[in-house]
């Protein structure tokens, strides 16, 4: 269990960073509480692995401090930090058996044989590896090898946090959910702080209590999966999360309404006023799930031309044109809609967000 704090942490891989581009991580502040499960979500190159390696001590940040349980560990090496890390590719010692693999971190720290044995058995049963302890570690399936990697992290009693860097990347798709479930189980029974790096939003949203979305070295938004879904603070979050992502329509703003392709959409007046004050590029955001189909003639309804309908079983995704813009709507299966016909959509005010230069206006 550990409280992890990052204060003003920034990192550049080049020795003398000059411009913005040289920084892999822009200065950020984060606090992660004891025992929670956190996800670092973002596309390739956004800096999440860099951040993870800074927390674990494999990388020393160019600036800033890392505190674990209030202690400044910025200069401390990984072995002194009580963290465990699981990597993208299963890292196991091929020449040892499964049991020896699990015992390795303890043996290196001089733990007694008896205690090592006990811990190994405990962790093995937690990860369902008990029957395989005597097997040679090479030649095992990727999923077993990742479990062994995880086990090596858990075997140390003093482990405060487990950091996982896209651990399911090489796992067979039909086995992925098994490992995910195992992870959740482990987290619930051990209550260790878990930090999980991924570019897969499904993984992040299902595993984590809190998700930190990153892009281009910045923390874009941190919040619960629900917050990120319902109130994305950034167009990046809106578009990255959700399948399909949020609709982002360029618009203009008038008194009490946003105007998209000539059609008016009502919005609270304070929002419109702030947006107007800000200047900058305006976009209207709404998730396909929240758009509602209404009857023709409903006031405040917006007319769109449906161009394509995808049937996904329990719901449909309709792609429609609002003037020059493309809008996607998610409709329940009962709704009959055909490509080529017109359709009227309502933009519920509490689900619609106005973005100025990518940031939400509140």
């Amino acid at each position: 269990m550990a409280r992890i704090e990052l204060r003003g942490v920034a990192h550049a891989y080049v020795p003398s960073p000059a411009s913005d581009k040289d920084w892999a991580l822009r200065p950020l502040e984060l606090v992660w509480q004891d025992g929670g499960a956190y996800a670092l979500l973002g596309p390739s190159g956004c800096g999440k692995t860099t951040l993870l390696n800074i927390i674990s001590g494999l990388l020393r940040p160019t600036r800033g401090q890392v505190l674990i349980n209030g202690v400044d560990v910025t200069a401390a090496p990984p072995q002194a930090r009580n963290i465990a890390q699981v990597f993208q590719f299963p890292v196991i010692y091929d020449t040892m058996t499964v049991a020896e693999n699990l015992a390795f971190p303890l043996r290196n720290r001089g733990v007694s044989r008896a205690e090592t044995q006990a811990r190994v058995e405990e962790v093995a049963s937690l990860l369902e590896l008990t029957g395989d302890l005597k097997l040679r570690a090479s030649g095992l399936s990727a999923d077993m090898r990742q479990r062994i990697s995880l086990g090596r992290g858990l075997v140390r009693k003093d482990v405060a946090a487990i950091l996982l860097d896209e651990p399911l990347t090489v796992i067979d798709p039909h086995v992925k959910w098994l490992l995910r479930r195992k992870l959740k189980q482990v987290h619930e029974s051990l209550k260790v702080t878990l930090v999980y790096v991924t570019h897969d939003q499904v993984e992040a949203l299902t595993l984590a209590d809190q998700v930190v979305v990153m892009n281009l070295g910045r923390v874009v938004q941190a919040g619960t999966p629900q917050e990120l879904f319902e109130r994305p603070a950034d167009t990046f979050v809106g578009y990255f999360i959700g399948s399909p992502g949020m609709n982002l329509l360029p618009c203009m703003v008038e008194e009490g309404a946003a105007v998209v392709e000539g059609q008016k959409i009502a919005l609270p007046p304070e929002v419109c006023a702030s947006a107007k004050k800000g200047g900058g590029e305006l976009r209207l955001g709404i998730r396909p799930e929240f758009l509602r189909r209404v009857a023709e003639g409903t006031p405040s309804a917006v007319r769109v031309e449906v161009s394509q309908v995808e049937d996904l079983g329990r719901y449909r995704i309709a792609t429609a044109r609002l003037g020059q813009q493309v809008v996607k709507v998610r409709l329940p299966e009962e709704e009959r809609v055909v490509a080529g016909e017109s359709c009227w959509l309502e933009f519920p005010a509490q689900r619609t967000t106005l973005y100025v230069d990518g940031r939400a206006v509140t």
């Binding site: 090496p77 465990a84 990597f87 993208q88 971190p105 992290g153």
Partner: protein, 290 residues
């Protein structure tokens, strides 16, 4: 990890097969052809069957050369392989230091072999060479032209100087190919430098080490130019290795028949030992895997 069976993989191998077979098969046939004949002149061949082979097995000079050769190759392996690994572990990993080190390291490999022999021929002389003079100044009585042991040591040191960089370069490249997460995980696991070497680096070096051992064995077993230029095989027979014996047969006496027969046997001996090394090293890997 098991490999899927896929016979279409042959297509990827065919170009290599063609090139090598083209260059290998015809000479092989020629050699086999000559080895069972007595070639008295360009058009006069007499079939003699296994006479050359039998003569060879009874030749005491051959036995001597073989014994010396085995000793030499063994010494070479015992020195060069650990030294090469050690160098590879200690060489800088990046930056200008690495560039400089790699270039300097590789220099001995790039010198034509007869020039190598020539350098050491003068270098080791007690009267006009740096090494010879230095060793004699230290009070040791060193003369590689007269003393058999000195000759052996000189040839050995020359070989180590010449070929250890090969082992070092191979191992260095092999070490660089180990993914960073392995080292990172080892740090987190608190592994010592020795444990990191034993459990991560050495197992993953097995591929390059097999190649290094086989190459050094084969090349040292066939070594000709360098010792010949340095000592001419002497003093006496002390540094006459197998290849020189063959050349003396083929060129000195210009007897193609026995030379061909000997070439065949030579080839088979190298093949046998190489096969033993190869199997031993790949089995070691497989037994660790299962």
């Amino acid at each position: 990890m098991d490999k899927p069976t896929n016979n279409r993989a042959w297509l990827l191998v065919v170009p290599v097969l063609l090139v090598v077979a083209f260059s290998a098969v015809i000479p092989l046939m020629t050699v086999v052809n000559y080895s069972v004949q007595d070639i008295l002149g360009p058009e006069q061949h007499v079939f003699v069957g296994t006479e050359w082979f039998r003569k060879m097995l009874r030749d005491p000079e051959l036995h001597g050369a073989l014994r010396r050769q085995l000793g030499y190759s063994l010494a070479v392996l015992v020195i060069e392989i650990p030294l090469g690994i050690g160098l590879a572990l200690m060489l800088p990993m990046r930056g200008r230091a690495a560039s400089l080190s790699l270039v300097v390291l590789a220099l001995p490999l790039l010198i034509p072999w007869n020039v190598v022999g020539t350098i050491w021929q003068i270098f080791a002389r007690g009267d006009i060479g740096l090494l010879g003079v230095a060793v004699n100044k230290l009070g040791l009585d060193y003369n590689y032209t007269a003393d058999a042991l000195d000759a052996w040591l000189t040839v050995l040191v020359m070989d180590v100087w010449h070929w250890t960089p090969l082992v070092a370069l191979l191992c260095y490249a092999g070490l660089r190919a180990i993914p960073e997460p392995f080292y990172q995980a080892a740090r987190i696991d608190g592994a010592s430098a020795w444990a990191t070497f034993r459990y991560i680096q050495l197992p993953r070096l097995r591929g390059v080490l097999t190649i290094a051992v086989l190459l050094r064995f084969m090349d040292s077993f066939m070594i000709y130019t360098e010792p010949f230029v340095l000592t001419g095989g002497g003093p006496g027979n002390a540094t006459t290795f197998l290849s020189q014996y063959l050349t003396r047969l083929a060129v000195g006496q210009f007897d193609l028949g026995p030379a061909a027969a000997f070439s065949l046997v030579y080839f088979l001996v190298v093949l046998l030992f190489s096969y033993i090394f190869y199997t031993a090293m790949t089995q070691a890997g497989r037994s660790e895997a299962r």
